[in-house]
Symmetry: C2
Subunit: 96 residues, 2 copies
DNA sequence: ACATCAATTAGACACATATCGAAACGTCGA
DNA sequence: TCGACGTTTCGATATGTGTCTAATTGATGT
């Protein structure tokens, strides 16, 4: 696992991203089906009682925080969990 | 270090508590001066550009999340970091 | 070209919350 | 008892944000 050094701003983005329960659920879902290909966006939607618009918003936040990577392919968007970012945040918390 | 099992609700409270940068600063400050006695509230205030009212509010949130323990003694309030809670949250994140 | 479908954007709304000033509360020393 | 001091509570305000509907974009198959 590569090591990432996070700025205060990035820490803040991650903390905010993790503060919404729905986003955490989404993260978990992406983390479970963690094939390299990434999880299709609509796949997530079928498991979360939420509009496509809302889901899109959450994914943008997760991406902004560096917690996921969005690979757009044609009309699809495949999500991949960026574990190094999550790990770096845990390291930050450990240092408190 | 004792182990704590957190409910979904508690996880959410912790995540929200950690989502505010000022609260994280406060946590750090409490964590540093981590003598068993606890850090006096006014000590924190002298390092954070914030009103007593606001500080009180943040401490209530941190306590609600189980991240600190407030020992009131006379007119003073001594804060102590509850590391087991923080650890439990990190364990939760690790399981994502 | 057209219809369809996945995803995004725009705009609106409701609700949460970080912050403050002012007032109240409780403790302690004079 | 009185005043000072640390802390809390109250009420108000401004900002942030999760959610929706509707409209838009972009790709794909017929």
């Amino acid at each position: 696992m590569e090591t990432v050094q996070l700025s205060t701003k990035e820490i803040q983005l991650i903390a905010k991203a993790l503060a919404d329960p729905r986003r955490v659920e989404i993260l978990k879902q992406i983390g479970e089906g963690c094939c390299d290909a990434g999880l299709p966006c609509s796949n997530i939607r079928s498991c979360q009682p939420v509009t496509a618009a809302t889901l899109s918003h959450h994914m943008k936040e997760l991406e902004r925080a560096g917690l996921i990577e969005i690979a757009r392919e044609g009309k699809f968007a495949n999500l991949k969990l960026r574990r190094p970012t999550l790990q770096a945040y845990m390291d930050y918390l450990k240092a408190i």
